[in-house]
């Protein structure tokens, strides 16, 4: 009998110690400070793939998200492109939505109040078709309670300058980002276009313009053709490629940008799982954004957060910050 009791005692003791050790490890620190914005975890939703949060509120607890980057907002409402607007491709999709949105005034009146009910960082993605339009939205949003920062989508053509895309021209990008920088006191995150030869040059331009962070990548310009009708699959002819198909390109660009500048980076492009997210973090991203995955699995963000926590626990890593940029390239 005493043998059994002593066995039980030692068993319970070891088990108790083990459980305590587990408990200490069970909550690795997922929080990050991104350009002065406090995020409870590094997982955000990518612009244009999560609307303004409402549609997902029935499915997931928005309070659990590190942040929400809302659908692109412009000074005036935009109708968007004629259909067909999307086309599925191998492990990805092309979209040419045309940045349809209700404009900044309706956003402030009808969309933002809903988001204020949640304890998560709200970043507002902004765009325009002239430098003045960008500045206009930035000014309207400056100091608005419930907005943590601006993500500037520079992948738009400047209609006033012959349609040259801000994000693929170094001088246009610099002028634009400098102007937005002056128009707001909020953190400014430049969302870079991947449709350039040297992403580091644009990362440096964003830094020189005074931006607080980078976001990359936006979609890759693509095209699909119906061989029977011999017409493009999208009414807009070309569209932006997103989803797992683009992930290696995105990881490479995040890594290059992280090498080139000291700014914190939100990495994105084809993230479906926590493994994918951690790849971006090791490449140099301080936070990640989940886009197309939200369409495929509306719970993707929460699955990624949970998976990340489990991974850190299993690997005995105390904070996700320890992994940022830790890919070893010796």
């Amino acid at each position: 009998m005493p043998a059994v009791i002593s066995f039980l005692r030692s068993y319970l003791l070891t088990f108790g110690l083990f459980a305590m050790a587990m408990k200490m490890k069970i909550h690795p620190d997922l929080s990050v400070n991104f350009a002065g914005i406090k995020l409870k975890n590094p997982v955000l939703t990518a612009s244009g793939t999560f609307g303004y949060g409402e549609e997902f509120a029935d499915i997931i607890d928005l309070n659990k998200l590190g942040g929400i980057i809302v659908k692109g907002i412009s000074l005036k409402p935009i109708k968007g492109n004629p259909p067909p607007r999307i086309w599925e491709t191998p492990s990805g999709m092309l979209n040419a939505i045309g940045l349809e949105n209700p404009g900044v005034d309706v956003f402030l009146r009808d969309k933002l109040p809903f988001l204020r009910n949640y304890d998560t960082a709200v970043l507002v993605n902004i765009f325009g078709y002239s430098l003045e339009e960008y500045v206009g939205v930035a000014e309207r949003l400056d100091g608005v309670p419930g907005v943590a920062g601006l993500e500037v989508n520079i992948s738009c053509p400047n209609v006033k300058a012959g349609g040259i895309v801000f994000g693929t021209d170094l001088k246009a990008a610099f002028d634009l980002l400098s102007a937005v920088r002056k128009a707001t006191r909020m953190p400014v995150i430049a969302k870079l276009s991947p449709n350039v030869t040297d992403i580091t040059a644009f990362a440096k331009v964003a830094r020189d313009a005074g931006c607080d962070g980078l976001s990359l990548i936006n979609t890759l310009l693509g095209m699909a053709i119906d061989i029977r009708s011999r017409t493009p699959r999208l009414a807009n002819r070309t569209g932006g490629l997103s989803g797992p198909a683009i992930r290696p390109v995105a990881v490479r660009m995040v890594w290059q940008a992280a090498q080139a500048v000291d700014l914190p980076i939100i990495g994105m492009g084809g993230i479906m799982t926590h493994e994918d997210a951690l790849e971006f973090i090791l490449a140099g991203a301080s936070a990640v954004a989940v886009g197309t995955a939200n369409f495929v699995n509306p719970r993707a963000t929460l699955d990624i957060i949970a998976g990340m926590e489990t991974f850190l626990t299993q690997e005995g890593i105390g904070s996700v910050k320890e992994l940022v940029g830790q890919v070893s390239v010796a």
């Binding site: 492990s91 349809e100 989803g243 369409f295």
Partner: protein, 271 residues
């Protein structure tokens, strides 16, 4: 009530239904309880990353308040892969989504117009409100009509079935819109028709024009490529007469046909 609810649905039954269709019965009690005719679901056909997106399917029936029935036509990669799914497996299912058909007035005669693979939501409609309804069904030839079991069901649930085939192998020789037009010239016994249509875009456009010519209310269930089904990707928008766009997944899939900017109405009435 439509709801953005995600379900893990167990496959209860999955069988070829004939004429290129499969019948799929999924256990999803919450979804089944909230569904109404015209609602649809987004179904992931596999857990792999290719094909990536879920596929939209109309609900054709709710069985014993716990499961839903779908009929799908093997149309491409996703539906081909779907045919390999076995009973007992679970699939990601979102729904019920969208706005369904308005409930018909007691005095009205619903005219259900089905073309191509557009019958599933009308089958559900007929089960609820079919007693006074007439079904107009059309296809290329009699082998392209909805599966025999579905046709039997539709015949028993409606007042009359009007067939049209392009080769004349069953019913009127021509398009479904031809048999509909023939009826509309002199509706029987002072019937007050209201149209509920589902099928290819070209057919819906022609049906819509017929309805306008005869000043009859007409509701159409639209199809457009969609990624999320939740109203966030803005991919499934259709052009509105009043300008701008509306989302098939959110404001639709059922629209008042007068709202839609049909564009140039094609001469051929569709299948």
């Amino acid at each position: 009530m439509p709801s953005n609810k995600l379900h893990q649905a167990k496959v209860l039954l999955h069988r070829p239904a004939g004429r290129g269709y499969y019948r799929l019965v999924l256990l999803a009690p919450g979804l089944a309880a909230a569904a109404a005719p015209g609602h649809f679901v987004m179904l992931r056909v596999s857990a792999n990353l290719d094909p990536l997106l879920a596929r939209p399917f109309g609900i054709s029936s709710v069985l014993s308040k716990r499961s839903i029935e779908l009929y799908y036509r093997v149309a491409g990669r996703g539906t081909t892969l779907l045919t390999t799914v076995d009973p007992g497996q679970t699939l990601d299912l979102l729904g019920p989504l969208g706005n369904g058909f308005p409930v018909p007035d007691k005095a009205a005669t619903p005219l259900l117009v089905a073309g191509g693979s557009g019958f599933p939501p009308l089958l559900y409609f007929a089960a609820r409100y079919g007693k006074q309804a007439r079904l107009f069904v059309g296809s290329r030839d009699k082998e392209c009509l909805p599966p025999a079991a579905v046709m039997k069901d539709l015949r028993s649930r409606t007042k009359a079935v009007h067939y049209a085939t392009e080769d004349g192998s069953r019913g009127t020789c021509g398009f479904v819109t031809d048999s509909l037009a023939a009826y509309l010239v002199s509706p029987m016994g002072g019937e007050k028709p209201v149209i509920y249509a589902c099928g290819p875009h070209a057919m819906l456009a022609s049906v819509s024009r017929l309805a306008e010519d005869h000043s009859i209310p007409c509701y159409v269930s639209m199809e457009e490529r969609m990624a999320c089904g939740l109203g966030v990707c803005m991919g499934c928008s259709v052009s509105m007469k009043a300008g701008g766009y509306k989302r098939v997944c959110k404001e639709g899939p059922v629209f008042d046909s007068r709202e839609i900017a049909w564009g140039r109405v094609p001469l051929r009435g569709g299948r």
